[in-house]
């Protein structure tokens, strides 16, 4: 024993050991998978709703959540590859600097589609064109900030609309998306702060808020799937 305790030396209690990075990453990977499941379930329900009713508004919500799912999937794959594969530094550089931007951009596209869905519902418009500036792909650092701010603005718009829907109906079903989008908005705001302050704790908090939002969507999907026929109002 290097430091016997019977020498009368006062020992300073050590802080609790932090979990190994691999374990934290594994936990985040699991949460990502859960969030992806929630998005896929909701995408499927929205697709079924569109295929049966042929209501155009469902298309925007379906596509929005489908793109959001694709973004989450790519994030999951990137994290899994970074954790498990022994790859060259060049490929790792590509993953973190180029491919890592895909989830961020897909979120912008997805939120834009969802925002259009809410807009069309509010204004009963027939169509709306979306133009995404391609130069965002070139300037990665600036693009990350721009899409971050853009996503936050889109989420703020979506949150207002989602809560308006809840205020009009006062039904639990419409409260879940509103709270989910609010959680995602908080996540994006915290993410921007974490990037500006380069604070890892804030980054993890942002991640957890994002996952909380996805879990709320999962609760909605589960509630919808488990609806009983006896609840049908005649």
């Amino acid at each position: 024993m290097l430091f016997p305790s019977n020498l009368g030396v006062t020992t300073v209690p050590r802080p609790a050991p932090l979990p190994p990075p691999q374990q934290v990453a594994g936990f985040l990977l699991l949460l990502d998978a859960l969030g992806l499941g929630a998005l896929l379930a909701l995408s499927y329900l929205l697709y079924r709703s569109w295929s049966i009713t042929r209501n155009r508004l469902f298309v925007f919500f379906f596509l929005g959540f489908a793109v959001l799912s694709a973004g989450e999937l790519s994030r999951l794959v990137l994290l899994a590859v970074a954790m498990t594969a022994r790859i060259s530094e060049l490929r790792l550089f590509f993953l973190t600097h180029v491919a890592g931007f895909i989830p961020q951009l897909s979120q912008t596209v997805a939120l834009t589609l969802i925002a259009i869905g809410y807009s069309l519902e509010a204004f009963r418009a027939e169509s709306l064109q979306v133009i995404l500036p391609y130069w965002l792909l070139r300037e990665r650092r600036a693009a990350f900030w721009i899409t971050g701010v853009l996503n936050t603005a889109l989420l703020a718009y979506i949150v207002v609309n989602a809560f308006s829907v809840y205020a009009a109906s006062r039904r639990n079903h419409s409260l879940f998306p509103a709270l989910a989008f609010l959680s995602m908005l908080a996540s994006n705001v915290v993410l921007l702060f974490s990037l500006g302050m380069e604070n890892e704790l804030l980054f993890v908090s942002s991640k957890l808020l994002h996952l909380a939002g996805l879990l709320l969507l999962l609760v909605l999907a589960v509630r919808v799937v488990r609806l009983e026929r006896k609840e049908v109002e005649v």
Partner: protein, 91 residues
């Protein structure tokens, strides 16, 4: 609330009446579904063709009953209504 019901809404309304009544005749459906005779006949024919309703002839009276496929469809309708309600989509 929209002034004009979508086809999806009309078909689901007809099926709800049949579900509530167990077996519904045309007079009941006319009253409850708020449709003209011609339009109701067209929609009933479509629902029977799709296998959602079963046509039962009882003497001179014609009744309609939900099939298992129709019951399954009504469950799907409930889910769609919940999703539509969640996102503020008017059906």
């Amino acid at each position: 609330m929209s002034a004009r019901r979508s086809k999806f809404r009309i078909l689901s309304d007809i099926m709800r009446v049949v579900e509530r009544e167990g077996e519904a005749n045309v007079s009941t459906l006319l009253l409850e579904a708020n449709l003209s005779y011609a339009r109701l006949s067209k929609y009933l024919e479509e629902l029977v063709d799709k296998g959602f309703l079963l046509r039962i002839e009882d003497g001179r009276e014609v009744k309609f009953k939900l099939t298992p496929k129709g019951e399954s469809f009504l469950r799907e309708v409930k889910r769609i209504e919940a999703i539509a309600e969640a996102f503020g989509v008017e059906l």
